[in-house]
């Protein structure tokens, strides 16, 4: 019977750890929000981060979005063709992309590219005691480091989602034309007819939430790292996992509450 005891103890310990992390993340969120009022932000840090995060992620997001859009057409296209409903081809691929696949996939890629990198940077800074150094100079690390990164990540993710959505729709059209012989015009008309602006906005709202989640989780795990190189690896690992879970949870809540 002892293995049940061990198993329960592990679950308990795991649950406590998760609770600890969630608490810490919420606390950091609160600290970030508080630091925004009044908005005294280090503009140089903000611009630097915007540039860094946006620039770096455009190629990978564009590629991912292209393939994702193509995939959606591959999935829904044959189904649509079978029923001769060519006109709905854009609908099938389109709404999935704009409302779900686009924001989620782009957010996941962003989490991997920018979020993980951010955690790695902040962890290295923590491990080399630079954060303590900042505090010794009476600079609040949250205001100086975390807030600009959070803002940059949200802004960038929204921009990337918009770009990504467009690229995905393009990818969907190209695949539709090349592999399923669906004409451009048909695709575009079905986009225009079946997709409402709200579908697009819905995806954008989600990306704001995703951006915030990725930003706060990546910063949290960055500044709470312990141990040298091994600790940094674990922090990045934890950060991407937490971001992925948050994305899924937020998606769920947002879909249900904002339809």
């Amino acid at each position: 019977m002892t293995w049940i005891g061990t198993w329960l103890r592990n679950i308990g310990a795991g649950a406590l750890r998760v609770a600890d992390e969630v608490g810490g993340i919420l606390l950091l969120t609160w600290m970030v929000l508080r630091a925004l009022i009044p908005p005294k932000i280090d503009w140089r840090e903000l611009v630097k981060n915007l540039y860094k995060m946006g620039n770096r992620s455009v190629p990978i997001v564009v590629l991912t979005a292209f393939f994702a859009g193509g995939l959606m057409t591959l999935q829904t296209g044959p189904f649509v063709k079978k029923f001769g409903a060519q006109a709905l081809a854009g609908w099938g691929a389109g709404y999935a992309v704009l409302r779900e696949i686009g924001p989620i996939l782009i957010a996941l890629m962003f989490s991997g590219r920018v979020g993980a990198n951010n955690t790695a940077e902040l962890s290295t800074m923590t491990v080399t005691e630079q954060l303590d150094g900042l505090r010794a100079l009476a600079i609040d690390p949250v205001r100086f480091l975390v807030v600009p990164r959070v803002i940059s990540m949200i802004v960038m993710l929204v921009a990337l989602t918009v770009i990504g959505d467009l690229v995905a729709l393009t990818g969907a059209s190209i695949v539709g034309r090349a592999m399923l012989d669906i004409e451009w015009a048909t695709m575009f008309h079905s986009f225009a007819d079946n997709l409402k602006p709200y579908d697009f906005l819905h995806g954008v709202y989600k990306s704001i939430a995703f951006g915030g989640a990725i930003a706060v989780t990546s910063c949290y795990f960055g500044v709470t790292v312990r141990g040298g190189a091994v600790g940094v690896g674990k922090a990045v690992n934890a950060a991407v996992v937490a971001a992925a879970v948050s994305i899924m949870l937020l998606d769920f809540f947002l879909t249900y509450t904002t339809g």
């Binding site: 044959p78 189904f79 590219r113 940094v232 690896g233 990045v236 690992n237």
Partner: protein, 266 residues
């Protein structure tokens, strides 16, 4: 303008060199499997890796796929409602087909690319920067055999297992959503009769491909880590993106191939 072109050119050269090295790691992994224990792999390492990959990702997969299953079903039914087709009978049948042929393996793999990919790169990366990989080589051990092969084999098995579990969770969660939000009768939703063996084969092919790609990409990134903690962070980042991207590209390629082979009728 010239700077842009040289920049792109350099980027392409870099990318192709990396692609070649990645391919060599893959070939090395297969060679390592064929070589068996002679490469120095410790006993029981495969089981240990299966535990690390499988057991510890289980809750993560169940939670994430459960939620996304609910969302997808909700969206699908919502759209049907909006377009005016109040007939939800098709939803369950199409849903399971989509889960088996695409979303089950792909979403599971995307989640695993994050968790397992990062984990493998972090472990191997920190070993590389603390020179443990060099120390292994000094004892006549091949790093690919010792570090990547066990994870590779474990991942093949576990990805398939987790795909099955994840897909089932997605399906069940979808059914619950359909019932509670749209009043769809469970017996109407949980209808498997559209499923054919070729769908299951497709799922198998995808799950195994993803299971192969993730540890190879992540191990490759880990072995290339340089410097100290920064290098490990960078390697982990690269592994997450690389394996996620590999999954997406493989999904696309396999789906397109499947469409081609079955003549456009899946």
């Amino acid at each position: 303008m010239k700077k842009l072109i040289t920049g792109i050119g350099a980027g392409l050269v870099d990318a192709s060199r990396s692609a070649v090295e990645l391919w060599l790691v893959y070939v090395g992994t297969i060679a390592g499997i064929v070589r068996g224990r002679r490469g120095g792999r410790p006993k029981g390492e495969i089981m240990r890796q299966m535990y690390a990959i499988g057991n510890r990702s289980l809750i993560f997969i169940v939670v994430t796929l459960g939620f996304i299953g609910m969302v997808m079903t909700y969206e699908a039914c919502l759209q049907l409602q909006r377009v005016g087709i109040a007939d939800y009978s098709q939803v369950g049948m199409q849903y399971i087909k989509l889960i088996v042929t695409d979303f089950g393996p792909t979403l599971t793999a995307m989640m695993l690319a994050t968790r397992v990919g990062a984990g493998i790169a972090a472990e191997i990366g920190s070993m590389k920067v603390t020179e443990q990989v060099d120390a292994l080589r000094m004892s006549g051990v091949l790093p690919i055999d010792y570090l990547i092969v066990p994870r590779f084999l474990a991942s093949l098995v576990m990805t398939l297992v987790l795909t099955t579990i994840g897909g089932s969770v997605m399906y069940a969660a979808g059914g619950l959503t359909a019932q509670y939000s749209f009043g769809v009768n469970p017996s109407l939703f949980f209808d498997l009769h559209l499923l054919r063996s070729r769908h299951l084969i497709l799922m198998l092919v995808k799950a195994v491909s993803y299971g192969a790609a993730i540890p190879v990409v992540a191990g490759f990134c880990g072995l290339r880590a340089r410097g100290s903690s920064e290098g490990v962070g960078w390697a982990t980042t690269a592994a997450v993106i690389g394996s996620s991207f590999a999954v997406i590209v493989l999904d696309f390629v396999i789906s397109a191939a499947a469409l081609f082979v079955t003549g456009g009728d899946l």
